[in-house]
Amino acid sequence: MIHSLFLINASGDIFLEKHWKSVVSRSVCDYFFEALERATEPENVPPVIPTPHHYLINVLRHRIYFVAVIQSEVPPLFVIEFLHRVVDTFQDYFGVCTEAAIKDNVVVVYELLEEMLDNGFPLATESNILKELIKPPTILRTVVNTITGSTNVGEQLPTGQLSVVPWRRTGVKYTNNEAYFDVVEEIDAIIDKSGSTITAEIQGVIDACVKLTGMPDLTLSFMNPRLLDDVSFHPCVRFKRWEAERILSFIPPDGNFRLLSYHVSSQNLVAIPVYVKHNISFREGSSQGRFELTLGPKQTMGKAVESVLVSSQLPRGVLNANLNPSQGTYTFDPVTKLLSWDVGKINPQKLPSLKGSMSLQTGASKPDENPTINIQFKIQQLAISGLKVNRLDMYGEKYKPFKGIKYMTKAGKFQVRT
């Protein structure tokens, strides 16, 4: 099982270590540092690194490497999933997961790690249960604690851990009972030079924020459940019911959680909400290149495309770019050659464009590589797959909760080749 954990910051310092079995010397991280040195980019460090006596499995999040040490055959995915869970927990507890936040809360961090693993076996990883065991630090509580001398460790048994619904704590009470669901879809696409779609898929999630008193039993049904043929559920969802009736039936955890994530594959027709017209060209023998980019909406069901951000890694030979945006602002970093253009909202009547010239090193040959354009955007009130919630019902409790459902579509890895 998981032996030890080292947290390493961007400059290569080990700033926290935790051992669940015997102590493994820090020097084991030297193998990680070697791999880090070989990697051209911080994110290129291989996730699994062998050493003579151990294996190092690492994830990089928030510019911190979480390096787990294992000694026997342990499924690497198990370790990686667990590490991500650790990061999520830190974020949940401290608001951000940074070196500073971890150092400031080092005792809580240590307590959390101790509760999450026992001898390398996962113990409590559900945030509901952890919060019962260890109260998250808040400014207020810190003040109160120092005055009254009370503690941030819960005094009772984590009741949820043994009930049939281990994800929900008992005795939940709210004055305002509410249940909100966010349907968020990210569209990943690769569009080729000519504007046709090479591949497009949708990663969707339904995130919930449920604050309901008692033990509510919810059902959620969809207008078009057939879209959901590839789904991953929160453990609370009753799988049999879904198989039989295509209805989500569940007793929700308290607070925020991910009810469901789904995937609409490239084999379905995926609507592409924006198009790009581009002309990025260099002439042989000239030290100038042309750059033209126009964006427009497409298949958005009449909804506005907002928060558009275009970025592109221009060829190494480009010295500078002199461009003129019809709206928004652009920056070009001559060192990293990264061009980014903050477009804002797309007005279908007046399409945003960015035009101008790029200067090359004099005498340099025409660059070989074609830059890829990366686009980010958001569309409110639309799930691009067409998924729609039909109704949400609650059983088991008498009060009338307030219910709400929001839709949003975002660009995931949305790339246009030129």
């Binding site: 926290l16 015997s22 294996y55 690492n58 026997s72 055959e73 990686i80 999933e81 001398g149 819960g154």
Partner: protein
């Protein structure tokens, strides 16, 4: 002065201050001090000097303080074992606390204190906690057993904790079950002998029930454990699959992958024509695709596993090519894996798309990735014949870009394309030659030189080109030098008149001016060949080359089988057999000569794979292509091979001659076969269990025909009629060759003998034990079932005598792991009589050798399904105990072959 008393380097006086605070009377101050101590400990400061002071704080009702002290204890107990004993009492007390949280906390912390002295005190509290009324305590105690085992394995066994742990698999609480499984799996890893996870249909059922209700992590443990189970038949296999499939929709990717493992493995047992088989195949694709939308690290592990799955069952993902298309900001390790899978999935149907993508990748920035993309184009050409032309033109386009490393990679792969499709694309040679000067990498230079040499007759200035390389001969790498030498010799053989000078030059460079023995040797060989017999030289140097195929990069099938059984593990990430790398005692068992029992190794590929068709069917007989390093087989066989090879090397004496005559003088010396041994009939079905029908029987092999001899007795009061017989699927496909002939009705108290001829054409399924046969007999009253075991000698065929040379080669080729040794005791036969007896049962003696009063018989046996079994029997004069070594590609049969030896020799 007080600071000095602390005996630690404490420049700021911090430790001293903390010490004072820890001993304060005020509770609050104490707690704050402990917190500070923990904080210092976490950042790696040494605060072990405070051990006694911190331990003093342990006796408290404050839960937080208790937890903090426990944290401290776990960290420093090892360095202060004497002090740690002070804490024992508190643990014992806490284990009896009315609050289960405290009990659990105590048992949990106890196990983390890795001090030998303490462990003994912990046994009693642990025993109580394992039987605690609260499942939360039981589940914590289960893990504690694993911890304790890690510290002191003997103690855990002596105290009987392993049995208690096994009992917990049947616990009513799913969380307890999951933890018990996890703890047992971990212990089993360091303890390969113990039969800890003894799975039977009942425990499997327990596990499957717990699977639905336990935490995600528990599900992983349970699924991994299920994967070690061997279902009895396809129905059980299907029912397990059905209950595991819902896990594919789990949000935790490790659960998904473990479920995929179980399904991939058990699927093997399902008949391919079953509807459910098709359904299952379809269900596997979406979760695998979904794994690719997770974080890059998860993607990487998923991709390494998908790589295996695609090789084993390409049909699962054949329509999902697009999800493997590379995004330009994927980390490099994801990009390279995706590329690999794209090539594996490439087929005529999607090749156009794939090529367009690969061409796109070849213009990216990352050099490593670009290189691999160019190589991928070459691999596509070799894999999909119809696309070869398109690939070549794509490569030519890329060469036109003149990007140096792209050109070089392209040339390397074009060389491979030439080898796969000779005389097809040579028109591009001119274009390649244009880029000769820009090549600076050895591999590309060597490839280009190979092309020039191979097609020297079509390149007008081949001699000039090669000559130009020759100028800097000594600065080239060995690879290029060797290639250049060969190319020039080829050129000379093709155009002898113009190139005599050139070949002289290269030969003298290679033989006289080089320090490299490989190069010198190759130079001399060419030189002698050319000088003694130019015709022969031509035949050797210009011989037709074997074609290359895409198969070269596929994982060898038996390894693939094994890896499929280990999906989701480190082994699957590294594509290495599990035994090859994880530290631990697993490896011990692999040393073949120390092994006497033939209980199949728990991790051996055949045992853990329910691949009945391929494991025992003819497929296994094909000579494995895995490169087993040739290890000398122990002196006995080695000398045998030397002696038999000697005459040939010493001037072509006849193969059997001189001293070898004594060795192999067996051909006609053996008397006529005496007929195979037939065991007496034994009772298979008792009258009381079968409404009055009693069946006893045995098996016999007579003249190549297998017969089942049955005696049916009617012990009921009424007449029995309408007899029929049927077999369940079995390991070797035994089936009745015709209906059972019971012509007359069977009256009460009558016995009838029936001989039922058997064929080997029935459906195959691996049985446990291997020679088990489940039989159903029907009469007018009911259907009755019984099982019996047949001697493996039933399957020994008459043409099982292996050629001597083949025997030697096969013996070497079978990995030593597959060898099993046995003792046959109390046999008072000399070797000739023994081998005569054995021959009667189709165990053939191929060679005999006598060394220092010890007779060694080399024997072969062939099973009906084509499996060869090789044996070496050592007989010491005057010693009634024979030593038998058996080697077979399907090592599970060894045990049964040994049983046959014993049966035959003792009767």
């Amino acid at each position: 002065l007080k600071v000095i008393n602390c005996c630690v380097w404490d420049p700021s006086g911090e430790i001293f201050e903390l010490k004072a605070e820890l001993n304060s009377d005020k509770k609050e101050k104490k707690k704050e001090a402990v917190k500070k101590v923990i904080a210092s400990m976490t950042v790696g400061k040494d605060v072990s000097a405070l051990f006694p002071d911190v331990v003093n704080c342990m006796q408290t009702d404050n839960l937080e303080l208790k937890k903090l002290v426990y944290l401290y204890l776990m960290n420093y107990a090892k360095s202060q074992p004497d002090m740690a004993i002070m804490a024992v009492n508190t643990f014992v007390k806490d284990c009896e606390d009315p609050n289960p949280l405290i009990r659990a906390l105590a048992v949990r912390t106890m196990g983390c204190i890795r001090v030998d002295k303490i462990t003994e005190y912990l046994c009693e509290p642990l025993r109580k906690c394992l039987k605690d009324e609260d499942p939360y305590v039981r589940k914590t105690a289960a893990v504690c057993v694993a911890k304790l085992h890690d510290i002191n394995a003997q103690l855990v066994e002596d105290q009987g904790f392993l049995d208690t742990l096994k009992d917990l698999i049947s616990d009513s609480n799913p969380m307890v079950v999951a933890n018990a499984v996890a703890a047992l799996s971990e212990i089993a890893e360091s303890h390969p002998n113990s039969n800890l996870l003894d799975l039977n249909p009942q425990t499997i059922n327990k596990l499957l029930t717990a699977l639905n209700e336990c935490t995600e992590w528990g599900q992983i443990f349970i699924l991994d454990c299920l994967a070690n189970y061997m279902p009895r038949d396809d129905r059980e296999s299907q029912s397990i699959c059905e209950r595991v499939t819902p896990r594919l929709s789990h949000a935790n990717s490790a659960v998904v992958l473990s479920a995929v493992k179980v399904l991939m493995k058990f699927m093997e047992m399902l008949p391919k024509d079953l509807d459910y088989y098709g359904t299952l195949l379809k269900k596997l694709a979406p979760p695998l695709v979904t794994l690719l939308s997770a974080e890059p690290e998860l993607q990487y592990v998923a991709l390494r596993n998908i790589n295996l799955i695609v090789q084993k069952r390409p049909e699962i993902l054949k329509h999902e090519m697009k999800v493997f298309f590379v995004k330009y900001n994927d980390p490099i390790y994801v990009k390279l894996e995706k590329l690999d899978i794209m090539i594996r999935l490439a087929s005529q149907a999607n090749i156009a798309q794939v090529l367009a993508e690969l061409k796109e990748y070849a213009t990216e920035v990352d050099v490593d990735f670009v290189r691999k993309a160019v190589r991928a184009i070459g691999r596509c050409a070799i894999k999909v014949e119809q696309s070869a032309e398109r690939c070549v033109s794509t490569l030519l386009d890329l060469i036109q870009t003149k990007v140096n490393y792209v050109v070089q990679e392209a040339i390397v792969v074009i060389k491979d394309i030439f080898r796969k499709y000779p005389n097809k694309y040579e028109s591009v040679i001119a274009t390649l030659c244009e880029n000769l000067d820009s090549l600076d990498e050895p591999e590309a230079r060597a490839a280009m030189i190979w092309i020039v040499g191979e097609y020297a007759e079509r390149i007008d200035n081949a001699d000039e080109l090669l000559e130009s390389f020759l100028e800097g001969f000594h600065d080239e790498s060995t690879q290029v030098q060797l290639q250049l030498l060969t190319a020039i010799v080829k050129l000379f053989l093709k155009k002898p008149t113009e190139t005599q000078e050139l070949v002289q030059q290269v030969l003298s460079l290679a033989t006289q001016d080089s320090d490299n023995p490989d190069l010198r040797d190759r130079g001399y060989i060419y030189w002698r060949l050319l000088s003694t017999d130019p015709v022969a030289a031509k035949e050797v140097v210009l011989a037709e080359k074997p074609l290359i195929s895409e198969e070269t990069d596929l994982i060898e099938p038996t390894l693939l089988e094994e890896l499929i059984c280990h999906i989701g593990t480190l082994a699957s990430v590294y594509h290495k057999p599990p035994s090859a790398f994880v530290e631990g005692s697993r490896v011990h068992l692999r040393i073949p000569h120390t092994r006497v029992s033939t209980r199949p190794h728990p991790h051996s590929p055949l045992k853990c794979c329910p691949a009945p068709h391929s494991a025992l069917g003819p497929a296994i007989v094909q000579v494995s292509t895995r490169k087993v390093p040739v290890i000398l087989l122990g002196s006995r066989l080695w000398t045998l091979s030397i002696t038999s090879a000697m005459p040939a090397s010493l001037g072509g004496a006849p193969a059997v001659g001189g001293g070898l005559g004594d060795l192999f003088d067996l051909g006609g010396g053996v008397g006529m076969p005496t007929g195979s041994y037939v065991a007496p009939k034994t009772a298979w079905l008792l009258a009381m269990k079968a409404k009055g029908l009693e069946i006893s029987g045995t098996f016999a092999r007579r003249g190549g025909i297998i017969q089942m001899d049955l005696s049916l007795t009617n012990k009921a009061m009424s007449v029995m009629t309408d007899f029929a017989i049927q077999f369940n699927r079995n390991s070797f496909g035994l089936a009745p060759a015709g209906p059972m002939q019971v012509l007359t009705p069977l009256s009460p108290n009558q016995t009838i003998d029936v001989s039922l001829p058997l064929s080997m054409s029935g459906p195959v399924m691996k049985m446990e034990p291997l020679n088990n046969l489940q039989v159903a007999v029907k009469n007018n009253i009911d259907v009755f079932y019984f099982s019996c075991q047949y001697p493996l000698s039933l399957l020994f065929v008459e043409d099982g005598k292996m050629d001597r040379q083949v025997f030697l080669a096969t013996w070497k080729d079978i990995p030593n792991d597959n060898e099993a040794q046995f003792q046959i005791k109390d046999i008072h036969l000399n070797s000739d009589v023994a081998s005569n007896k054995l021959q009667g049962s189709n165990i053939f003696t191929i060679a005999k050798r006598t060394v220092e009063g010890q007779d060694m018989l080399y024997q072969s046996v062939k099973l009906t399904n084509g499996i060869w079994v090789l044996a070496e029997m050592r007989i010491q004069t005057g010693n009634p105990n024979y030593t038998l070594s058996i080697k077979c590609r399907a090592p599970e049969v060894c045990q049964f072959v040994y049983q046959c030896y014993e049966l035959v020799l003792k009767n």
